[in-house]
């Protein structure tokens, strides 16, 4: 009898112990490229922020879910930049690993591909690297999908405003040389840009695309140079953003406005070109003097050993902060409740106060500029800390 009750007590404790242990963790799923064409970008913008967030939260003891402290357990997969692979892994997260929440994928296509799957299981997706003009249609179809980095139109608008200002200041004329990478991203942006720039009275005198992975961009740059335009715009991806910059330096491109899209905001961009790329414009931007951002960047460096980029890194971290605050605020792991909480509330993040209207957050940077070694935000929507744009003058050190 004594033995039985002791055994019973031990058994009861064991059961209580395991169930307590099991309840301790919140499973977070994250799928993004670690190999494949988009890996280079994801490794800078996405993965470090995921790791930073999970480590910071766990260092604080986890999240307070209705009074109980629960730690985060991260389940990560490499989608190899393959849509079919990513879809399969997303289903795995939802049905096999049964994660509580997911980190939205990296890349417009992947967010759209997984929206139906995650939607079916009720996962809120706070997308960052997803830029599209079809947000209304997409969010009606997938009410669990949230956008935070702006629309295609906003992306182009920021640059257009700068170009109008520079034209008024006499730095550039009406002529623009515009190139784009022949990938869905570049094609979409160039298409929109032709419309918007045209409406603003600009004349695109050199308008060419180049295949993804072109090894020699010198013909493109020479063509742009020959056109005589004082403004150069490139809707480009990481490898070509770097390649175009190199060519611009070699050709000593005589422009007062130079813009290349993705990866201009990578720290490595300055690392490779030094001061030659001073006053180059690029997609994104951030306010490094803002104390919240400064603290975030320091933590990023301390914990991951990498420098955050000057664009979507902060947004990615902010999206994770939103998720965190929504879980805590809703005091539950019930995804429907948390999703509704995201829709109804505002959040204090490194990007300032963010909230969603029709699943769209209207606070983001669109254009930034390298100014004396720091990539600062110059244009954005509902952001503070924008600095004036400077004209480009030469490519010397």
């Amino acid at each position: 009898m004594y033995r039985r009750s002791l055994f019973g007590l031990a058994a009861a404790l064991a059961v209580a112990g395991t169930s307590l242990f099991a309840q301790d963790m919140i499973k977070i799923g994250a799928i993004a490229p670690k190999t494949g064409p988009l890996a280079g970008g994801a490794v800078v913008t996405q993965w470090p922020n995921v790791r930073l967030w999970v480590e910071e939260v766990n260092a604080r003891g986890g999240l307070d879910v209705g009074g109980e402290m629960k730690m985060l357990e991260l389940i990560e997969y490499d989608d190899k930049t393959n849509p079919g692979e990513h879809i399969k892994l997303a289903q795995r997260l939802a049905t096999q690993d049964k994660v509580d929440f997911v980190v939205a994928p990296y890349g417009t296509g992947f967010n759209i591909a997984t929206a139906p799957i995650y939607g079916k299981y009720g996962y809120p997706m706070i997308a960052v690297s997803a830029i599209t003009d079809k947000m209304e249609e997409l969010t009606t179809r997938y009410p669990n999908l949230f956008f935070t980095l702006g629309t295609t139109t906003a992306f182009v608008d920021g640059l257009k405003e700068i170009m109008i200002e520079q034209r008024d200041a006499g730095e550039i004329g009406n002529e623009i040389a515009m190139v784009n990478v022949a990938d869905a991203f570049g094609i979409e942006l160039a298409d929109r840009a032709r419309e918007l720039f045209g409406e603003a009275g600009f004349d695109i005198v050199y308008d060419k695309s180049y295949p993804l992975g072109t090894p020699d961009l010198s013909p493109v740059m020479k063509g742009a140079k020959d056109s005589g335009a004082k403004a150069f715009v490139a809707w480009s991806y990481p490898p070509d953003s770097f390649g175009l910059a190199e060519q611009a330096i070699i050709e000593d491109l005589d422009v007062n406005l130079y813009y290349s899209a993705v990866a201009t905001s990578f720290p490595a961009f300055k690392g490779a070109y030094g001061n030659k790329i001073n006053n180059v414009l690029g997609a994104g931007g951030t306010d490094v003097d803002n104390p919240a951002i400064a603290a975030y960047r320091k933590a990023h460096m301390d914990i991951t050993g990498e420098v955050a980029d000057y664009w979507a890194s902060a947004n990615t971290y902010a999206s994770l902060q939103i998720l965190e605050q929504a879980i805590v605020g809703a005091a539950t792991l019930d995804r429907e409740v948390v999703t509704q909480y995201i829709k109804d509330n505002s959040f204090e993040t490194v990007m300032g106060e963010l909230s969603f209207t029709n699943n769209f957050s209207n606070t983001f940077w669109s254009v930034g500029q390298w100014q004396d070694g720091v990539f600062r935000g110059v244009k954005g929507s509902n952001v503070i800390g924008a600095v004036p744009v400077r004209a480009k003058s030469g490519w010397s050190e």
């Binding site: 670690k34 064409p37 993965w47 992975g213 493109v220 190199e246 961009f269 690392g271």
Partner: protein, 288 residues
């Protein structure tokens, strides 16, 4: 016009570096090496890593890469690929096996490289403008071109005027006949494979000075190398060089005169046309 000539030729240098190695590996050792691009990226990774951590010039890295790549590729042939050669009963079977095996190898290389550096190998070396006959270009491309020309010339001389080189050429014509005249075919094949891999790795180190690579981009270079090797005719070093020149000039010409968006389409179009009129490639031999 001059711009096209200069830029086009420099691009040919890059392409020649990419293709010469595979030409040796496929033409002599009969290995369709789908991991060729990854070997190139390995060379690039070495140059990137040594430059960014120890400020070692990529030119110097080339000399470090040569012995490592040679031994590495030799070992790969000896232990991973020779068993396949031995057990395959026909050329077709060996091709199938080598495609499958080198495909697996390419994955292994990517996995290794990603764990060393997951992002872009972004650095610039000798990125100075230089004027050739009035056309502006960058010094690093010129250096790569000169080294490519040097390697090609050295290779040609070696293949035609040295005993081991002649043995290599014999094996590329016929493995059976070479064996019959007393050539140690396995050893020559291993030599060709190792040499091919070395040239590719050196090419990668040089190319990385002006093209930003990352761990996953190898496949693009494998595809390019395959196109050039086949277009030039398998096993013929002259063929690979001529094919590289044609492609470099066509791509640059189309980019300047027509539309940069059509460069690859034009390049493949030339490739298709050449094969339609000369199914064995420019300098290739008719299949026996």
């Amino acid at each position: 016009m001059l711009d096209i000539l200069v830029s086009g030729l420099l691009l040919s240098g890059t392409y020649a570096l990419v293709a010469m190695g595979l030409n040796l590996q496929y033409g002599v050792a009969r290995i369709m090496n789908l991991a060729n691009g990854e070997v190139l990226v390995l060379g690039a990774l070495a140059a990137f890593w040594l430059y960014t951590t120890a400020q070692i010039s990529p030119i110097l890295t080339v000399f470090l890469v040569i012995p490592v790549a040679f031994i590495g590729n030799w070992l790969i042939y000896r232990f991973l690929l020779r068993p396949l050669v031995r057990r395959s009963k026909s050329q077709g079977a060996l091709e199938v096996d080598s495609i499958l095996a080198t495909f697996g190898m390419s994955f292994i290389f990517i996995g290794i490289m990603v764990s060393i550096e997951g992002g872009f190998f972004l650095y610039k070396y000798l990125s100075e403008p230089i004027s050739i006959l009035g056309s502006t270009t960058s010094l690093n491309r010129l250096v790569a071109f000169l080294l490519a020309a040097l390697i090609a010339a050295a290779l040609y001389i070696w293949l035609h005027y040295s005993r081991p080189g002649v043995a290599v050429r014999a094996v590329s014509v016929s493995t059976e006949a070479s064996g019959l005249v007393g050539i140690n075919v396995p050893r020559v094949s291993a030599l060709a494979f190792a040499l091919g891999g070395t040239i590719t790795a050196v090419g990668g180190a040089l190319i990385s000075t002006f093209i930003t690579l990352d761990a996953s981009i190898g496949v693009v270079f494998t595809l390019k190398a395959l196109i050039i090797v086949i277009m030039g005719g398998v096993g013929e070093i002259r063929g690979a060089i001529v094919a590289a020149i044609i492609l470099g000039l066509v791509e640059t010409g189309v980019a300047t005169l027509v539309d940069p968006g059509l460069t690859l389409a034009a390049a493949y179009f030339i490739f298709v046309i050449i094969l339609l009129f000369r199914p064995q490639g420019l300098f290739g031999r008719r299949a026996v």
